[in-house]
């Protein structure tokens, strides 16, 4: 597996997990149907690493999320796969109230290196309201490290970093990115530091912050508008911790800011970026957000589902509005 190839996002995650399992005997995986590997993440890993390392669990998310903490306290580095983003709601106590808090509450005696991964977050067309959430803003609010890779290389590099990290970390792999491919040299895949942004396309007029599958959309819009406005596409890669220095640099250059964000508007990721920019960055025009609506629940029918997700045309309109100083 050397040399340049078109690597898919799903395969990149699978390789990252395999490489971590191979590199560190403490790494193990819990989840439902992960022996079969239907979500792609664990494909072939049970065969390679065995039942002691890749463990199919009963439908007891709270139970095995709690177990992952205990295993972590005893020296393991568990990765847990969740089939549905909202299963994170089911284990919110285990993540936000247990894993996240144990280090501080024990005065540093404990640390909880657990990785939670949803290898199909956000809308999966036709899966309706309970399967289409994108709750990364919630985990960032709580203060759990929250990673949303956009490209296969980042999916690889961030998953490796998440597993190596001594703290609990949630990785969202957007369903709409899972099939994307990137031409790259496998030998150059490497861990990507948590908290470091990446500028996918430099620009001088406006900074567009995009996450996950929306990075590709933002790049398309930037191309579309190229004759009109010079767009810098800024991908934080990790929602929390956020690379404020890099954003400050970008906005200092462009003076204008648009965020496109697949989470609900109110108190979402987009709100944080705008707020932080308004506090401390030199904006020359009011910033804008393109988000899911307040309180959004994704309806089932395709037309409705799409009507609730941020689309390229809205991003283009927001960019134009910001350029107009509206």
């Amino acid at each position: 597996m050397v040399g340049v190839r078109k690597l898919s996002y799903a395969k990149a995650l699978n390789m990252a997990l395999a490489d971590e399992l191979a590199a560190d005997p403490a790494v193990c995986v819990f989840g439902e149907d992960i022996v079969a590997g239907m979500a792609g993440l664990t494909l072939g890993l049970h065969k390679r690493f065995g039942s002691d390392r890749v463990v199919d669990t009963p439908l007891s998310e709270q139970g095995f999320a709690g177990m992952a903490i205990g295993a972590a306290l005893a020296g393991r580095r568990p990765v847990i796969e969740f089939q549905i983003p909202s299963l994170l709601f089911l284990v919110f106590d285990q993540i936000a109230n247990q894993a996240h808090k144990l280090s501080l509450m024990t005065g540093g005696q404990l640390s909880v290196p657990v990785t939670y991964i949803v290898p199909a977050s956000g809308s999966r067309e036709g899966w309706a309201g309970q399967h289409s959430d994108h709750p990364y803003s919630i985990f960032a609010h709580v203060g759990v490290k929250t990673l949303v890779p956009a490209l296969p290389s980042d999916a690889y590099g961030l998953l490796r970093s998440a597993i190596q990290d001594p703290d609990p970390t949630v990785v969202f792999a957007p369903a709409q990115a899972m099939g994307s491919r990137e031409a790259l040299d496998i030998a150059e895949l490497a861990p990507v530091p948590v908290g470091s942004a990446r500028v996918h396309r430099p620009g001088t007029d406006v900074t567009v912050v995009a996450l996950g599958h929306l990075v590709a959309e933002a790049l398309l819009v930037a191309d579309e508008l190229a004759g009109e406005v010079s767009v810098e596409v800024f991908d934080p890669r990790t929602v929390y911790p956020f690379d404020w220095a890099a954003l400050t640099e970008s906005v200092t250059k462009t003076g204008r800011l648009v965020v496109v964000d697949d989470s609900n508007r109110m108190c979402g990721f987009g709100a944080e970026i705008l707020a932080s920019a308004a506090e401390a960055m030199p904006l020359v025009a009011p910033p804008r957000r393109v988000t899911r609506p307040d309180g959004a629940v994704l309806p089932f029918a395709r037309q409705l589902d799409q009507a609730v997700q941020p689309q390229r045309e809205h991003l283009a309109a927001a960019i134009r509005a910001v350029m107009d100083g509206r």
Binding site: A36, M38, L59, I84, A128, Q130, M266, F300, A318
Partner: protein
Amino acid sequence: MTGSVSARAGMALDTPALRYRMIRLIRGFELRALDLVDAGEIVGGIHPYIGQEAVAVGVCAALRSDDLITSTHRGHGHVLAKGSDPARMMAELAGRETGLNRGRGGSMHAADVGLGILGANGIVGASAPISVGAAWAAHHAGTGQVVTTFFGDGALNQGVLLEAMNLAALWRLPVLFVCENNGYATTMPISGAVAGTVVGRAQAFGIPAVTVDGMDTEAVLAAAHEAVTRARAGDGPSFLECLTYRFEGHHTMEKQYRLDYRTDAEIAQWRQRDPLALAGARLSTVERERIDAEVDEQLAEAVRYALDSPHPDPAGALDYLYASGLRGRAGWSA
């Protein structure tokens, strides 16, 4: 206040012929739905109920029309057996405005409140406490309603279902817990997931629990009838373990994978106990063929209705988000 949710009467299921008819309806519905998934008319796929029809039909045959049910991700059979119009159900799967949920819910969330169908659920186990709460309300309102909650063997490992059983037992609520043990939760065999026995898990809460042949409607009906009678008499919840099998994959998406969690031989063996054949064998060939023809006609019409129905207007994407009519802010400005 309670009771208002269930006014319309469903299909009568009080003869073996009517029960055969319903099994045939569910089977035919699912086969047509599979076709529509392949054709791209049903987006996102379904969890087919094929093979398990005797459970839904046997249980619903024991219910009053004002009784309530909650269902699962594999819920089409429950919804049809409780009496929903297959045309509106099919329209829902096809995401049309005429669907049971106006195209907002789809396969995993079908509800038909007028028939006492409080809804399927995409989260395994989540329906159980909802049913217990409805039973608590019915109990205190003295309506005599019984609430049935369907779930799979996988749900037995969800804490919230176990909590719900404890609450129902503690307060002697009119709940019927129906476990459709089809042997697997997706690829996980029950032996790899459930320590102890299925009925033992319910009995530990003091809930009477029996195991029945889930391929035989009449056996399911008999057991459900006993349980429902007990609940209606104020003697609390019961638990049925229905041994059954799904003939298709877990979800239509399963076809994309080569999975080996069960053998062809095992599937073939269970297919020999096809609930459709078992129920059909109770009728004369003539009667069966007459019913089959009627049902096929009805289903053809249901498919036509669904596909002829309008798609919802994107402008209404957030309609019904708040019962109060609250409108939050849009995600972008014009």
